[in-house]
Amino acid sequence: MVKAAWLRAGWVFPVLLVLGASELGASERRNSEPHRIVALAPSVAEIAADLLGKEGLPRIVGVSNEADRPDVLKDRPRVGPFYRVNLEAVVGLKPDLVLATQDGNLPEQVERLRSVGVRVSVVGTPKVDSLPEAYRMLGRELGLEATAEKKAAALEQELRELRRESERRQTKAPRVVLQIGWNPVVVVGGQGFLAEVLSIAGGKSVFADVPQAYPRPSREAVLARKPDVILQVSMDQGRDQSQGGSEWGKIPTLRVDADDLLRPGPGLMRAIRKLQEGLNGFAH
């Protein structure tokens, strides 16, 4: 009887050893370069793709529905929209690294993924100046520190040039409404990422005194603030929701490429430069 109990107990040690070894293996894997990456938002997918380069792109094995740049990502398995990804689809891809954003993805979904043992890196870009830091952080996660440092330094240099250019060109910044929603009208207020983008491009939001990041003013309130120009950004996957600017009467309107502007990624500097060029005609 006693012998039988010992024999049974004897099984425990090899099992523990195997379990321990697999756990060690798991922690070693956690620290190694990831080869199955899932990006939960288009901005992190673009930054990761920018860092990985053409050869490294096969390491991205899944993306959110909106990720469409570079073209090769269009063929990757989708895991649902960034604002509510399908967690089972994410885990089903067996990722060794999931990339999420602080502002776009739901924090409870990130927590849920972590609770089932998935390694998740959350990239925060609350300010434009955070973008180079996001590159460095992702560079560390992907094992591409040197590439990330090079690209981050280039971004910082470009940002400095853009700011200098805006200061040089304008004595008084044009008064701007940056419109991101149509029904109801949603504009950029005095805080947040897009308010800063506007300021770097050399514009001043007429709603800069509003403490909300994205206030919803009435049409009358927009007209009452007498903007020099209304910049219109379509949030709806490129579909034109505006009525060609006619709804704002004599106030000139300017269309802005939403994908570049709303995704804090490699296209952001291009978007700010375009915005700067567009606003140049309205400078006082």
Binding site: N65, P77, R78, V79, G80, P81, Y83, R84, N86, L87, E88, A89, V91, G92, D103, L106, P107, E108, E111, R112, V116, A213, Y214, R216
Partner: protein
């Protein structure tokens, strides 16, 4: 004869439930899921759908009897608005992130509104009409406060709450789902104990009194039980419409109006209806997901009209 019909009804319900269970565990965005994937995502979701569907159907059955009103549903009394208010106020906060999501503030909001309603019922003497109207008013206040919050709150907090408000089973966790099932089963049993009194109330207040039933006391008890049911269901899965309204009517068509039969059969049909709705919600636009509440509303409304048309047709022919 009645026993044979009963057995047939149960056999049918259980067969469908087994099929729905198979679908609940078998359908998802991954073609060959391993056990870990099923345990972490599909099993909690399936259990939660069973618990919430059963809870809403039982709550609807009890309220329709209590107020002798076929339009009553679990959300009529405003308790769900309390749950919604509690949940949206704390959505996006650190508390909601680390303390069971929106379930705890949701349940607290439901109990707060239930306490208000019961307080009003003591003042008004628990008369059916007054209680029902108080509930409807409370519901309006709650939903207006939710709308106010959504207009002024930070968009990142709103985003999480919007899906929850439409009815969302995707955030299910095993412990929460098991707790919801246990709570629904316990309250369902407590309502079963009251089934003869609910039958008596269907005959009218005077007839019920002559049979020894105190309608006011019964109303308070049932409202209390329903509050717990609605609080548990809404805080776990948000606002899932139509299950609590349509399922009791559907079950009444073949099981009759005796609550000893109606309550358990409604629970089983409610569970399987919500589970199938969730499977459809998972699959129809995969890998995106529809909120389950959207599917139940889209399918529930035509079903309800069909039931009403069937009933009117029979009554017309009888007349």
């Amino acid at each position: 004869m009645a026993l044979r019909t009963d057995r047939k009804n149960w056999l049918l319900a259980c067969t469908f439930l087994l099929i729905a269970l198979g679908l609940g565990l078998g359908v998802g965005p991954t073609d060959h899921p391993d056990w870990a994937l099923i345990r972490e995502f599909r099993l909690p979701r399936t259990l939660l759908a069973l618990g919430v569907g059963a809870g809403l159907a039982v709550a609807g059955t009890a309220l329709q009897a209590l107020f002798s009103n076929p339009l009553c549903e679990p959300y009529t009394l405003g308790i769900s608005s309390g749950a919604a208010l509690g949940a949206v106020l704390l959505s996006g906060t650190t508390f909601a992130l680390h303390w069971g999501g929106l379930a705890i503030p949701g349940f607290a909001g439901a109990l707060g509104f239930a306490a208000l309603l019961l307080g009003v019922s003591y003042r008004t003497g628990s008369r059916g009409g007054a209680l029902l109207l108080s509930g409807v008013m409370l519901s309006l206040v709650g939903s207006s406060l939710v709308a106010l919050w959504m207009a002024i709150a930070d968009p990142s907090g709103v985003q999480s709450a919007v899906f929850w408000l439409m009815g969302d089973l995707s955030r299910a966790r095993l412990e929460g789902a098991a707790l919801t099932l246990v709570l629904v089963a316990a309250v369902g049993l407590a309502l079963m104990v009251q089934s003869r009194k609910l039958d008596a109330l269907l005959l009218g207040e005077e007839a019920a009194q002559s049979l020894g039933v105190d309608p006011n006391s019964l109303r308070r008890q049932v409202v209390f039980y329903v509050s717990i049911l609605v609080g548990a269901c809404v805080s776990a899965a948000g606002m899932i419409g139509f299950v609590g309204l349509v399922v009791p009517h559907f079950v009444r068509r073949f099981s009759g109006s005796l609550h000893a039969r109606l309550i358990p059969l409604s629970a089983v049909w409610g569970a399987l209806v919500l589970l199938i709705a969730d499977v459809v919600a998972r699959k129809i636009v995969a890998p995106s997901e529809l909120p389950a509440g959207v599917v139940t509303a889209l399918v529930g409304a035509p079903c309800f009209i069909w039931i009403l048309a069937g009933r009117s047709g029979r009554e017309g022919r009888a007349g």
